[in-house]
Amino acid sequence: MLGFQTTLAADIKVVKPVAGSLVYKKLLNAIRPRIEYELKTTVRLTVKKMNMQGNWAYLEVLPLQIDGHAIDYSKTKFKDANLDLSDPNQAEMLINYALLKLVDGRWYEVRQESFQILANINWGEYFPVKYELFNYE
């Protein structure tokens, strides 16, 4: 099974869904309920990165309030994080990272991280996808 998937992954190109396309919306809607649950508010998702390879997709999104203002994390479970947002490395921790899989026409979140630095997210080592899916430099 793993060998099959690895072969498949090597043959499929990594693409970026067009902003506003159906797949773009479906991917965002697949992670939105979890983020809204965690942040206890409806959110607007600003896409930092969205890559797709066959039935896998990788997203980096910054959640904002519907009016575009920053989320008030003091009302969430992350209230004790005490981030210094003037530090780019800490500001990066507000980004939600998600790995999704398409099964029977639906996208499912199979891995997610928030309040984490990107360097600690090494899904490419484990899942049968190309490293390019994550756009590692």
């Binding site: 099974m1 793993l2 809607n29 309920p33 649950y37 099964v103 639906r106 499912y108 080592e125 899942f127």
Partner: protein, 147 residues
Amino acid sequence: MSNLRSMSYKALAMRAAASLGFLTYLSLNANALMPMSSPPVGSKLRQEILDVVRVRLEAEAQVKVKLVVKKVLVFGSVAHVCVVPVNIDGSSLDMKKSILAGVYQDMIDGEIDGIETGLEGSASKLVKSNGRWFEVEWNGGRSVCDK
């Protein structure tokens, strides 16, 4: 009606405010007041909920899995699920074939003390949004279904 006539406007206003407050409480706590139920085996609801968990666990296991269900409880638009994934033939999953193979090897090599993974047991919270169930929290480990 005569009672209402004899009440002062202030009393009526207070009653109306109390009713409104109670209705607001009901709407905000709808899930808490919903009866808890366990969807019957084979029901569409149970299938929909378990399929969400199954996709994540199959992605981790790298094989098709069968879920040994320890708990599926639904409260309105919230569900709590506890499952142990096994191979389709009922045998235990081989962690060495999963995405966690590297971590598992580290444990065997003594580099880490132990690991808690969804492949040993998975407890999840799901919410229903726009007619679809989403996993919003999950924990893995051998004992997560004991809690």
